[in-house]
Structures are given as C-alpha cells and as structure tokens.
Symmetry: C2
Subunit: 463 residues, 2 copies
C-alpha cells in the first residue's frame, strides 16, 4: 500500500475536529480502515487514515472543511463494488463512507422522478418504488449505491433502452472541495439555462466534489414483457441481428451477448442447458402482450436471417427470472471455470458497426493467453466485458492483454471503458483516448480542486 505523506499531527488534529461533530461516526480503527482500502478490484489497495460515516450533506460539508484545513484527501466510498480502484485511498486521508446517507427523500409519481441520498443502494430504491407503477431500471449487476453509480456513469443491461446514468441523473447536490454546497439542475425535464454542471459531476468519480443527493429519472414498469434466448452459428450473425433490431426500432429493453465459453460456464453454474454457441438474451417491453409478441417475432425473423438457431421464449415469470439470474451470475459462473482463481473484469465499448470484428479479434487474442477468459456484452450499446480467470503470476499477462484490448477498441473509434470508470486502472489510456481534451479535463480538475484533495490520483493526474 502507498504510504501517506500526511503528518501525524495533522491527522490527530483532524480526528479531534471530526469527533466533535461525528462522535462515534469517525474511526481510525484498523479493521474499518482495512475494509475501506479497496473495492472489488485487484488494483493496489490504499489504507485511509480514518473513516467517516456522515448522516447529512451538512456533515459532509463539515468533513470536507476539516480536510481542507489539514490537507487531507477525501475518498467517497459506497457499496465497495468499484472495479477500477476508484474507492481505494491510495494517498490515505479520509474515507467517506456514504452508506448511512441512504434515505429515499422524495418520489414523485406524476413527475416520474425521485431524490435519494448518495448512499442509497439501487435495490433499496427499487424496493421503495414498489406499488408506484414506476421503477429505476439502471442495473450494473452489483447492488451498488446510487452515488457510486453516478460517480462512474454506470449503466448495465437496460441502458440500450433506458440510457445510462448520464441520461437518468436530473440533478445533484454536491459538496465542493472547499465545503461549499451547490445544487445542480432543476426538477424540470430539460433546461437551456447555463452550463450542464450535472453532467460535469456525473462520471467524475469523486474527483471534483462529493455528490450527496441525486435526483433520478424513473420509468414506467412495462405492462408486458417478452424474453427470449437465441443461439447463433457465428458472433457476427448475433451482432448483425442486434444492429438490425435497433435500426428497425424494435427498441429492446435488454440485448445481451455471451460467447460460447461463457454459455458453457453458465450452463454448469446455473444449470440452464443452453446451446454452447454465441448467444443473445433479449427482453422486450411493451404496452400489451400482443405488442411485445409482435416485436419479439420481428426479432426472431431477423435472427433467422443471420444464422440464429431458433428463439426460445421464456413465457413464465419464473423462466425469465431464472434466465436473468443466470446472466447476473456470469461473474461467479466464470470464476467456477478455474476454482480459486482471481477474476479480473475489464470493459470496452466500440461503435456497434465494429463490435463483431472487435469481439472476434478479442476471442482470437484470448486463444494466445495462458488463462481462461469469457466475454459478455451489452451489445446494443457496443459494450462488452472480458472476465480473465487468473492464478498468481498471471497478472502481468492479463495487463498486457487488457492493453491490447483497449488499443483495439480505441482504433475502432471506441472508448477504454464503457461503464466501469477510470479509477486508477484505466488512467494510462486516457491520453490515447482524449488527446488534447485530457488537458481540458486537467484544467477542470485544477479549477474545482486546486489542492488535489478530492479522490486524488484517480481519473486524471495533476501533480
């Protein structure tokens, strides 16, 4: 772990000041620091010097003011599901555990929006929306906090229809580096009144300020759902089906790809007996059973034209749930391919016209490495993940594979991460991706956080 360069006296003074208003909700206990030193990734952990558990925006503001007085880093921490090292306190300082700020503050059914505290988890929100006819569809897999999802501009299986956090965050309460509190956006659906501060903070991974409250767009629960699985002779056929389904306006709510290796792993783990082929899992939402069935049949026709080996419809709620549960568990299914391994997941996103080519090239690349790996993708967005199952000593090989993957995606006009964020893991790719634009990002970081205290060493290096 990186040693912190913070003086002991600064830490002690900060602790006294924090204890004055947080009481037991600040701790320098080893176990708490250890727990807050990393997310779910293999990136180098970083021990914070202390952990705070604020209950309100005002407390966050006071904590940030203490951090300013003593020049301590502030690292927001949600559910700890970060995959790129975003929550690791690599320069020590204060880990800001947001999980006690988890109230759903307001739900408006007519406006189809809600305001939550940043520590609210996705499933907490979904539960709070039961019986409203509305839901929050963005689902990155893990039960992440809304704050964490906002920070990484998360998305997941339903983004192809409902958008990512970029489209679904309507406004924010943000504590700036000097402790000032701003509110961005309004409750109106759209606005042309000045710079888009909301989207400046969405995806900023805590490096420009701490998001404490988030106003989200909600969506109507569909009246009818159709779910189908289809195996394909080739990866290309599966991707062409997706492209044409979107072009024709079939508007899939989810359209997920699994390569044959992952299907095999899922079959073993979730016992669902799919054909071991490149496979699409699809879901359509609509106003009536007739409407979604019409849509699904159009998709079936497209699949047939592209080497699809027949649609298998899931007509019961249980069947649908079993299928998506299996999709949700691909991480565990993949790990089970190599018991005891470490699973390192990376993601890229490319224009969908290049997706088949990118996946095929990546599969060929994986045939040259020593570790097993699987591919799963939110193909409607051109986004896919590679899970690498590593044994000790294979990290460097995986790292060079990941670098080739990113290089391939960038050469195709894509991005080094579709939804996982930059953290520390993807920083090295941003120059290639953004060119001179990275200098503008650096300017913004220096402007909003001149002392580099807000999640320092993440996303962008300014030292």
């Amino acid at each position: 772990m990186a040693a912190t360069t913070i003086s002991q006296s600064a830490l002690e003074a900060a602790l006294v000041e924090l204890r004055a208003f947080l009481g037991e909700r600040v701790t320098a206990a080893e176990a708490a620091r250890e727990h807050h030193s990393r997310g779910e990734s293999a990136h180098p952990p970083g021990l914070p010097d202390m952990v705070c558990f604020p209950l309100s925006t005002e407390e966050v503001s006071r904590i940030v003011q203490v951090s300013a007085r003593h020049r301590l880093p502030v690292v927001p921490f949600g559910a700890g599901t970060s995959l790129e090292g975003g929550v690791n306190a690599i320069r020590g300082g204060i880990s800001l555990d947001m999980r006690q700020m988890n109230r759903v503050l307001r739900v408006s059914v007519p406006d189809m929006d809600a305001t939550v505290e940043a520590g609210t988890s996705r499933l907490q929100l979904v539960k709070a929306l039961e019986n409203t006819g509305l839901t929050f569809f963005i689902d990155p897999g893990a039960d992440a906090t809304i704050g964490g999802m906002t920070a990484t501009r998360a998305s997941g299986t339903t983004a192809v229809k409902y958008g990512t956090m970029r489209e679904n965050v309507l406004g924010l309460t943000v504590v700036l580096a000097d402790g000032r509190v701003i509110r961005t956006g309004t409750r109106a659906r759209k606005s042309s009144a000045g710079y888009d501060l909301t989207r400046l903070f969405v995806g900023s991974e805590g490096t420009l300020g701490v998001m404490t409250e988030i106003t989200l767009r909600l969506h109507a629960l569909p009246e009818a759902i159709a779910v189908a699985v289809c195996a394909f002779a080739t990866i290309d056929g599966a991707v062409r089906t997706v492209i044409e389904a979107i072009q024709l306006g079939l508007g899939p709510a989810r359209i997920e790809f699994m390569d044959d290796r992952l299907v095999d792993a899922v079959n073993r783990y979730s016992k669902i007996g799919l054909a071991v082929k490149p496979t699409l899992l699809m879901e359509f939402h609509g106003l009536s059973r007739a409407a979604v069935e019409e849509t699904a049949r159009m998709a079936e026709q497209l699949a047939r034209e592209h080497g699809g080996l027949g649609f298998e419809f899931q007509t019961t709620a249980e069947g649908r749930e079993r299928l998506w549960e299996a999709r949700h568990n691909v991480y565990f299914a993949a790990r089970a391919l190599r018991p005891g391994c470490e699973c390192v997941t990376t993601d890229v996103c490319v224009p969908i016209s290049r997706l088949a080519e990118c996946i095929v090239a990546t599969r060929a690349d994986l045939d040259t490495v020593s570790f097993p790996a699987t591919i799963v993708g939110h193909v409607g967005d051109g986004n896919f993940h590679v899970q690498c199952m590593l044994e000790p000593g294979e990290d460097a090989e995986a790292e060079t594979f990941a670098a080739r993957l990113v290089e391939r995606a960038l050469a195709m006009g894509g991005t080094c991460t579709g939804e996982h964020g930059v953290g520390t893991g993807k920083m090295k790719y941003l120059t290639a991706e953004h060119g001179e634009g990275l200098e503008v990002m650096r300017l913004l970081k220096r402007t909003l956080d001149p002392e580099n205290r807000m999640n320092p060493g993440k996303v962008i290096e300014v030292d």
Copy 2:
C-alpha cells in the same frame, strides 16, 4: 448598439491577418455587419467589427488565434434564429458565420450516427438522410443550424420521445479560446472514461469555445405513425392526460398543447377549424399500424377520463402534414392576431406535476396585461412558450410579465428556459435559478476563456 472599445489599429491589423488566409471570406462591409448584428429577437443588437466565413476547423482555429492576438471577441453565428440575443455581437469583434461549414461529413447506418459541420442546417441533414431509414428528429421549429442547436441545447416537439440536444450529441470538435482544437466523446454509444466534455460544451452558447463538428445520434424512421387532435374542457384535463399517457408508457413522439386563444389564431391563419378549447396534438410512432392504433386508443381513453371532447385522428399523410404545419406556424398565426406587432417569445419549463397550475396562473396573469398573448407547449416535458404580441411602448410591460413567469416557474422547481437558451435575455435569472452553482459556472468560464473573448457578455458575466 453598444460601442466597442477595440482600438482601430487592432481591428486593422486583425483584418490584414485574416485576409491573408480568408481572402474575400472576411469582410467589414456595413451590410454584412448589420446582417450579423442580431438574431430573431428584440434584444439589443450588436454590430460586429467584421464577419468571417470559415470553411474548416483549421480556419476557425486560425481566426481564433488572430482574435487572441488582438483581444477581439468571437461570436459564432448560424442561421440567425436565436431568440435570446445569443448571436448579437454586443461587444463588437468577429462574427463567425458558420454557414459555409455545412457538409454532412459522415453517416453510419449501422451505428445510427452522423457527423456534420456546425453550419449544417437541420433540414439539410434530414435531406441527406433520405433513403437511409434513419432521420434526425430534433426540431426546434426554425431551420436552425446543428451548431446553433447544440450551442443552445435545443429541443422542440419530439424531445418527449427522442430527447434534446443533450441526449443526441455524441461528440464534438471544439476550437478553444487559444485556438487549440479538441475532440470530445468517441463514436461509442457510452463511456465512463473521464469528464463529460461533450455535455460541458452542449448548451454553452459559444462562451467556452467554438463547436465546429458535431456527431449526432440518429433514429429509426417509424414504420407507422398515428396523429390525433383532442380538445379538452380544461387545461388541467389536458395536462393530466399527458401525465398519465407518459406514466403508462404510451411513449408519445410528440404531445403539444395549445391554449384556446392560440387555437383560435391557428384556425384563422391555417384554416383548419379546430374547436376553440385547450387542445392537445399528439403523435405516436410504432412498428405497425396495429401497434400505434392500440397506443392511440389507450390515449383516447385517458383523454375521455379527463374531459377530452373526442379524438380526431389524422389518417392521411396530408392530414398529418397540415396539422403539424399549422403547429409549426403558430408564431405567424399569433402575430396575425395583431397585424404589424412585434412577437416576443419566451419559454420556461416546470416539473409536469406543476404544469397545469403554471399554465393556468400564467393565463390569469396574461388577463391583466394590455397586449394579446398565446401559449403553446411541449407539455410532455413541462415546457411551454408564451408569445406576446407587442406594439411600440409595451416592451417594459412584457418584460415584467416575463419576469413574473420565470419567478413562477422557479418557485415550482423549474427553469427560466427550457430550450431557447440564456443569451443576454435570461442572464438576470440565473442567480435565482442556480444560486452558488452560478459561481462554479463562472469559474469554468474563467478557466476556459480567461480573456473573456468567446461570445462575451452572454450566459454569464465574468467582468
């Protein structure tokens, strides 16, 4: 017009430098300067000292470098349809007429995106997409340039389904204040790789840099369209119908409100004989005639429950066109209410739960003023416009009415402009709307344009 404080020698030197690479495409002729002194608004015009007509991003960069050497303002100018004074050269300098940069650079059908130069007009792009099965749906009414629409974060009738420019701009080429060129975004549909520079520039109205190329999301042309008109007993009934239609997931492609006064004006101007009542114009897009008819019938049922006086379906392409043509021409219809008047249009946007209340209160407010006025709204977004038909001497009264309108919208959690932009016209409301957030916007402006040369005096005051 505001006098410029630029020295004659600086202007002459700049002109010599510009002529060296622009030749005839820079002019200081009175007629060209006059033409570029204002958009369509009544806001005080501003004569630029010269007008440039660049052909490429590189030329824009060189022009901006000249402006930097001589400290001249740079004011981008598109179709000149700005309603809030955004294109007026209120501090002189260079008007940058982008209309010769109007090439559609690239269309990708599988990726459903296109890259255009900023001076391309909306209808030019729509025409270029003929026979692709795709289109660009955002329609602010005027045939604005894509650059202007991006600069003001424009939207229009179809935003309720297809989003605003915020959702539909995927990437930008931007010339910064020092002449550097950056490219924001990638061609991937989504990314978590760093700060969202694209959305920082969308809606910045040329105050942070000049956008020269824009990559846009396209949409599938619908297989089937249903259009209907419905008069309502009350404004509240019309708005409730809209709220429930969206909540149920009917997903209208357009849902427009006209108050009874405007319906009367439209009847006279476009000769279409609608009932003189609060009225909704609706359009539904779908995969088949059966699907859109099912959707429209659900909307009809909702309307009946809320005092709707019967759906009138437009079953022919001509009927649909006539109706939307009439909607497009509301500006002229309203002006014809008071021949020779000046029509001043303003817009606000509120949470839809407050929309009926806001429109009713605004209608009551309008009963107290001396000029006639009409209301038209993109009600699915909570956005509406008031057209005030003014005779000389009524400007001050209209201004105080507009201030009350904005105050009402802000008190309801709304915004001072849903889609027209800030320009000079709405600057005075931004403190009330953004509070401390305005200071952050000011910081961003100072950081990216430290000499305040990029469209100075618009959106945000930094002097």
